[in-house]
């Protein structure tokens, strides 16, 4: 039971890291609270749904599609919304309200087109591309059983989602620390004014970060139907708060921090779920408040709070 909870916690935790990563990037770079983050996740899930129902192929193909789609949407949205917002008196506060409005719009439009019913995708569809390749190269029969780790069986989608999340986190790390745009992004994160003063095109860097943030959220959303069982247009609001708990738990502006925050969150979640299930709903909120009060900079963070 304990081993199961721990391993499942790590698998979920890696996935949760991916869920929080985009939000972290957006807040870290622009000091903008993207309350529509969860709704982008929800839209990502609908991309996966569309790929399965329209094309009938493995939902994994939705990953690059969702990423590219929302990279473009995010960059576009940045230019429409953010420069105007930054010109106002209190952009950080107003961003909360602005993106709340956006999340309402997204939720309403999705409901108009998709209805309020719960949607799910058969979990055996995920990863069929792997088993097909395996069958063609090595022969044998396709198998859809649970994947065994440390003597316990886990649903294959959990393992695949955790694996993709790990890859995505690695790519974000490479982007931030091994590319020029990433270095500029980190410069804007640490001191926006000085970055501007030293001739960095802050708007371009921020637009890229916003696009990547939304893209990552959409990728996380592709796996949401498998991790949470089903998906509705109203899923976004809860997902946003959970993402915040994870981001704050790690630390702002540090992708490795979010990865750690996600894993800690996942393990706590699974442990509470296993031993005290009726209180599991409370966990993200209580954890969020405790961390904000005790160590607002997060587990790995530099100082970000001013009182």
């Amino acid at each position: 039971m304990l081993t199961y909870a721990l391993v499942a916690g790590v698998l979920f935790g890696l996935y949760f890291s991916l869920v929080g990563m985009g939000l972290n990037l957006v807040f870290g770079v622009m000091r903008i609270v993207n309350l529509a983050h969860g709704d982008v996740l929800m839209l990502g899930a609908f991309v996966a749904l569309g790929v399965v129902t329209l094309a009938g192929i493995d939902p994994l193909f939705a990953v690059p599609l969702a990423f590219v789609l929302f990279l473009l949407v995010g960059t576009l949205l940045y230019w429409v919304l953010v420069p105007r917002l930054q010109g106002s008196a209190n952009p950080e506060m107003l961003s909360i309200i602005l993106f709340f409005g956006l999340s309402q719009v997204v939720e309403a439009i999705t409901t108009i087109f998709a209805g309020t019913s719960e949607r799910s995708i058969q979990s055996r569809l995920l990863g069929t591309v792997f088993s097909t390749i395996k069958v063609q190269l090595f022969g044998g029969k396709p198998q859809n059983g649970p994947i065994r780790i440390l003597g316990q069986g886990f649903p294959a989608p959990w393992v695949i989602a955790a694996g993709i999340s790990l890859v995505a986190i690695g790519l974000v790390y490479v982007y931030l620390y091994r590319t020029r745009l990433g270095t500029l992004t980190r410069a804007v994160m640490s001191r926006r004014d000085e970055a501007l003063a030293s001739g960095i095109d802050v708007d371009r860097v921020s637009a890229a970060a916003f696009g990547i943030g939304l893209g990552l959220a959409a990728v996380a959303g592709v796996f949401a139907p498998f991790m949470f069982g089903s998906i509705t247009p109203a899923f976004g609001a809860d997902a946003t708060v959970t993402s915040f708990a994870i981001v704050v738990l790690g630390s702002l502006g540090n992708p490795l921090g979010t990865a750690l925050g996600g894993v800690v969150y996942g393990v706590c979640y699974m442990l509470v779920q296993t031993y005290l299930s009726s209180w599991a709903d409370l966990l993200p909120y209580v954890l969020l408040i405790l961390i904000l009060l005790l160590r607002p900079s997060g587990l790995l963070g530099r100082r970000v709070r001013v009182a």
């Binding site: 107003l94 409005g101 309403a108």
Partner: protein, 306 residues
């Protein structure tokens, strides 16, 4: 004539008079009650956000806690409704006291922590493990105290107190000190303002107002579920109404509630999705094009708006 008396005479008295007379003229009393509730909540948000700059994104936490304070007192102690309403206010203040450490956080951190706090209270109240106290997720029914017309009068009293409080903030050195803290807390403390005490006072005042409003709401509707009284819509509506009119003024939140909540009811509830769409677009337009509220249209021209 001092400004405070002018504000009472020309804003507070007409407002209360109109809402005291309307139930005799207009049949939909629930709608009038909702107007009064949102007027109270929007002014409560005005006290904390307008005068101190803290955005209470989980403001509904106090409202819901007040409603459940009322319910627990009526269900378990059979107390009279008025006592229970006062207790609801007390519950709001106690929750506010419990959450004072959140005031150490700034900007978005405070807003998000406050949101999390309200959701934590919701999940605590709705927890099936506490069914013996709060009836958990199954909701409460308080038919014994049901008396909408008295509840409406009580709401008017609370509205009077709240708007009176804002008039005080607008015309006193206390309110001026609060605004100084909002603009630049370091300079304000150099000028001899006790920053922490000021903020806590405003925070508890707005918690009290929401707690009382929640208690009266419970009294009025008498049957409700945790999801009703902790609905995030209360926080959002109160914030958006206050912002739409313009915060840190007396008239701004009132104008905001009357116009926006009026529009809300004109559009109607038949297709909630279209309504949500229009509302979302309205909020976005508001932030992008009119971030300082309707009153900024007048103040930009140099007119003074109370």
């Amino acid at each position: 004539m001092p400004n405070a008396i002018k504000h009472v005479l020309f804003i507070l008295v007409p407002l209360i008079a109109v809402f005291a007379v309307l139930p005799g003229l207009y049949q939909n009393h629930l709608l009038l009650f909702n107007f009064v509730t949102f007027l109270i909540l929007a002014q409560g948000v005005n006290i904390i956000y307008g005068f101190t700059g803290y955005l209470p994104f989980g403001y509904v936490g106090f409202f819901g806690a007040g409603a459940y304070g009322f319910a627990v007192l009526v269900m378990h102690y059979q107390s009279p409704a008025l006592v229970a309403v006062l207790a609801a206010g007390l519950v709001g203040v106690l929750l506010g006291l419990l959450l004072t450490p959140l005031l150490r956080l700034s900007g978005a951190y405070f807003a998000i922590a406050n949101l999390a706090a309200s959701l934590a209270v919701l999940h605590l109240v709705a927890n099936p493990a506490l069914e013996g106290i709060t009836k958990g997720p199954y909701g409460v029914s308080l038919t014994g105290t049901f008396n909408p017309s008295h509840a409406y009068d009580a709401a008017l009293v609370v509205l009077t107190l709240t708007v009176g409080g804002v008039v005080f903030l607008k015309n006193s050195s206390f309110g001026l000190a609060l605004q100084a803290v909002r603009e630049d807390s370091v300079s304000a403390s150099m000028a001899g303002v006790n920053v922490v005490k000021m903020r806590i006072a405003a925070w508890l005042a707005s918690a009290l107002v929401a707690g009382l409003a929640g208690g009266i709401y419970a009294w009025y509707v008498s049957v409700f579920y945790p999801d009703n009284v902790f609905s995030g819509e209360f926080s959002i509506f109160a914030i958006v109404f206050a912002l739409f009119g313009g915060v840190a003024t007396i008239s701004g939140p009132i104008i905001g509630v009357l116009i926006l909540y009026g529009v809300y009811n004109l559009i109607g509830f038949t297709t909630p999705q279209y309504f949500q769409l229009i509302y979302g677009l309205l909020i976005m337009g508001l932030v992008l094009f009119l971030p300082a509220g309707l009153v900024s249209l007048a103040t930009r021209r140099g007119w003074h708006v109370p």
